[in-house]
């Protein structure tokens, strides 16, 4: 299962199109960068105030004034721009970000997302996530299918929402699901698993696409 994250990142990379403006969440989503084809140029936005974010900065030549939203030192690509937080979230809420890729604690069949708080246990704060999922044109959730066997994909989230009816697609190591008005549509699967196994790991009935195909 160690390569689950790699499988997820590799599959999400296929969703991103040349010229897209994309915001990647902290953690697994940042791995997506490693799987982009050479001819696909993505403009990465970092919500702390940067358009055109480049790869992580080498330790020897990092600029302490250029950081990403995960507090890592990064580079600026040619054509990059810096701005203040109001401008940055104006870009996000204004619908100028084509896609955001984020992790989640829970997602449900309605596209509701819970990702920022486990009351009484973990209260890290929502950061920019609530704005990102409301504003980005496409919301892709990239996460492991279960939490050590416990369902994360549900009929109805039980944790407080990050936002309601915002998720477009869920990518896990088991497959790809689209949020539709009828429920979650399994469009792609990882051939290491049977459809029955994927359904068993999911807390809501999956609709199996007639065009179901391997995810990679």
């Amino acid at each position: 299962m160690s390569d689950a994250k790699a499988i997820i990142a590799q599959r999400v990379a296929k969703d991103l199109k040349d010229g897209n403006v994309v915001n990647l969440g902290i953690g697994l989503p940042t791995m997506v960068v490693n799987y982009l084809p050479e001819d696909v140029h993505i403009i990465f936005q970092s919500e702390n105030g940067m358009m055109g974010m480049g790869p992580a900065a080498e330790e020897s030549c990092k600029d302490l004034d250029i950081m990403n939203a995960g507090a890592g030192y990064v580079t600026a690509t040619p054509g990059a721009m810096f701005f203040d937080s109001a401008t940055s979230f104006g870009i996000i809420r204004g619908g100028h970000v084509d896609a955001t890729v984020l992790g989640a604690l829970q997602v449900d069949r309605h596209g509701n997302l819970a990702s920022w708080i486990i009351p009484g246990k973990m209260v890290p704060g929502m950061g920019g996530s609530m704005d990102l999922v409301v504003g980005a044109k496409k919301v892709i959730i990239a996460m492991q299918h279960t939490q050590k066997g416990a369902h994360k994909i549900l009929d109805q989230c039980t944790l407080p929402y990050t936002a309601v009816k915002v998720v477009d697609e869920i990518v896990t190591e088991m497959g790809v699901m689209a949020v539709t008005p009828d429920g979650l549509l399994l469009t792609e699967y990882n051939p290491e698993y049977t459809v029955e196994q994927i359904q068993e790991a999911t807390g809501t009935p999956l609709i199996i696409s007639p065009d179901l195909k391997p995810m990679l």
Binding site: F82, D84, S88, G127, P160
Partner: protein
């Protein structure tokens, strides 16, 4: 011409116990460290701090937290400073921290609203979540928005890269973040800056924050 240039200790001498203070920066990048250090030396207590995050333990506003100076923290993300959770859950009443979490884009806009004379802003962020509790929801062209009110402060501690003696300030890279917004949203604004230059030395095309917003300038920021 008013001389705005002071030492860090002189600059924060006007800040008293119980003040509400905005602090610029995002995970310490763009936080005026010399002003935070001066506040730690002054040891004012019961502060309400408005900052994007809680910094790191012993870094940025995390230093004020470790020193027991913060009563209320208004931020969007505190997960990278475990001391926040410890202080929120402590049984020692005088150490107890109140933490108010606000979506980052809403935090920015509420500060901007205070800075720009708006009575509030309407945002789709937070609709249908616990963030909406107690807030007015307005439906405009079939879409729901939360009414979020302006957020202002007694003081703003901001960080510049270059500042002239009038207070005109330029921010390098991603140090900009909340700094220019906070500069307009507080009664009294102190800029900790890396380099102080003479008036006229900055190209007016490149200035981010006008000197009209700045009350005090402290050089020597790293």
């Amino acid at each position: 011409m008013i001389d705005k240039v002071k030492t860090a200790d002189e600059a924060v001498s006007v800040i008293q116990d119980g003040a509400t203070i905005m602090v610029g920066g995002f995970m310490v990048c763009g936080t005026p460290k010399i002003l935070i250090d001066a506040l730690v030396r002054k040891n004012v207590k019961n502060l309400t701090i408005i900052c994007n995050d809680a910094g790191l333990p012993g870094e940025g506003v995390g230093k004020l937290l470790s020193n027991g100076q913060i009563k209320t923290l208004i931020a969007s993300h505190v997960g990278l400073n475990p001391e926040v959770a410890q202080r929120m859950n402590t049984d020692v009443e005088e150490d107890k921290l109140e933490c108010v979490l606000i979506p980052q884009g809403t935090l920015a806009e509420r500060i901007r609203a205070a800075s720009t004379g708006l009575g509030g802003i309407l945002t789709p962020t937070g609709v249908g979540t616990i963030v909406a509790e107690g807030k007015q929801v307005l439906t405009i062209e079939d879409k729901e928005y939360l009414l979020e009110l302006p957020l202002k402060a007694d003081f703003a501690l901001i960080r510049g890269t270059v500042t002239d003696k009038f207070g005109n300030t330029i921010y390098n890279g991603t140090t900009q973040n909340f700094n220019p917004l906070m500069a307009g949203a507080a009664e009294h604004v102190i800029v900790g800056t890396c380099e102080v230059v003479e008036i006229g030395e900055l190209d007016p095309n490149t200035i981010h924050t006008s000197g009209i917003f700045v009350d005090t300038i402290v050089g020597g920021e790293q």
